[in-house]
Symmetry: C2
Subunit: 212 residues, 2 copies
């Protein structure tokens, strides 16, 4: 009960490496092959294990998929946060946040399965009793906090409208991103990054365009 268990429940140092490996493989597979209400069995086979073998590392299906999303944030953060100290996931509080975010959105368009998984879970996890509920609340708040900070700086520099407070703006950008994902899933011709960018430009006070 008191020993150091840094993984999740019941996993000792031994298993956690494999766990991470599984999650990375899962990310690749889902990104490439898509997610259509995937079952544990399907994912297990894609990852090279039996269903029971996979569930050996995770307590339940919900935990498994939640961890996949967490891992996704982890790799995205590592990739899009060039110089990082202990920055708050899923994004660093750096200044060039908007272009970086647009880059990430462009990247998302390359991994439809992950977008599907995320959107699906976001809806399901709205139920407070869902295992991923806390994860989404926390992630969502963290994302907005980082955004709000960056947007405040832009407002202070006179580069962004002050007609809306930064917190609300952060919420709006988040909503647009999430909403565009759904539209894009339904119609892949939708230009998520371009639309986001257009909104940002329209709310900017300088004639400068965001570099796309």
């Amino acid at each position: 009960m008191a020993q150091a268990q840094q993984g999740r429940r019941g996993s000792y140092a031994k298993g956690i490496a494999k766990r991470e490996e599984i999650l990375e493989r899962a990310l690749e597979v889902i990104a490439r092959e898509g997610y259509r209400g995937a079952s544990v069995k399907e994912l297990a086979e894609a990852v090279g294990l039996s269903q029971a073998g996979l569930l050996h590392y995770f307590d339940s299906k919900e935990e498994l998929f939640t961890e996949i999303l967490r891992k996704r944030d982890e790799v995205d953060l590592a990739h899009y946060a060039p110089a990082d100290g202990p920055a708050a996931p899923p994004f660093p509080a750096d200044l060039d946040l908007i272009p970086t975010y647009l880059e990430l959105i462009r990247h998302n368009a390359e991994v439809p399965g992950l977008v599907q998984l995320f959107s699906r879970m976001a809806v399901d996890a709205a139920d407070p009793s869902h295992p991923a509920h806390a994860f989404f609340l926390g992630r969502s708040a963290a994302l907005r906090a980082v955004f709000a900070e960056a947007l405040t700086k832009l407002q202070d520099d006179g580069r962004l409208t002050t007609a809306i407070d930064a917190d609300t703006l952060a919420r709006i950008f988040q909503a647009v991103a999430d909403g565009l994902q759904v539209q894009w899933m339904q119609d892949p011709d939708v230009d998520m990054a371009g639309t986001m960018s257009a909104l940002f430009d329209a709310l900017s006070t300088t004639p400068t365009q965001t570099q796309r």
Copy 2:
């Protein structure tokens, strides 16, 4: 094969009235009691029928729930389109569209179950093989068209920014609305209408506020 069948498949004039009645009851029940992955059986009992009895009127679960959403648009349209000729669902092309839309958003906050159902289906129906795929594509496009028309008028009147074309603006408003719904489901404190309204104001060129 040639006789007039105005309902869906295999339902003759007799059944369609009951069908509509069922859908109305379903709307009430879901709005009030919420939707958490509801099964046909649950809904059937809430509506006063057995599972088999309910499926007598609908070919499948997916068709049933799609029809519920369609009915929802129908009653919303009837309620929020005061004087209507043959206007395009789910909204009339009238001028006071923005305040009306805000009203509808406020109304949505009163019927969480319907929002959950809609969001869930919107994600699932992203799959082109989903029975509701076409419904969502059509609805979405129709909504944007109505919006784009109204927004164009506002731009022509010099009351709205011309930094973004009306079509893109329509898409943005749609995305914000959808995204805010997800945020609101996760955290009911989120003020959907207020946030939408703030964005609209910020994109307006006149100092006038939208009447909330």
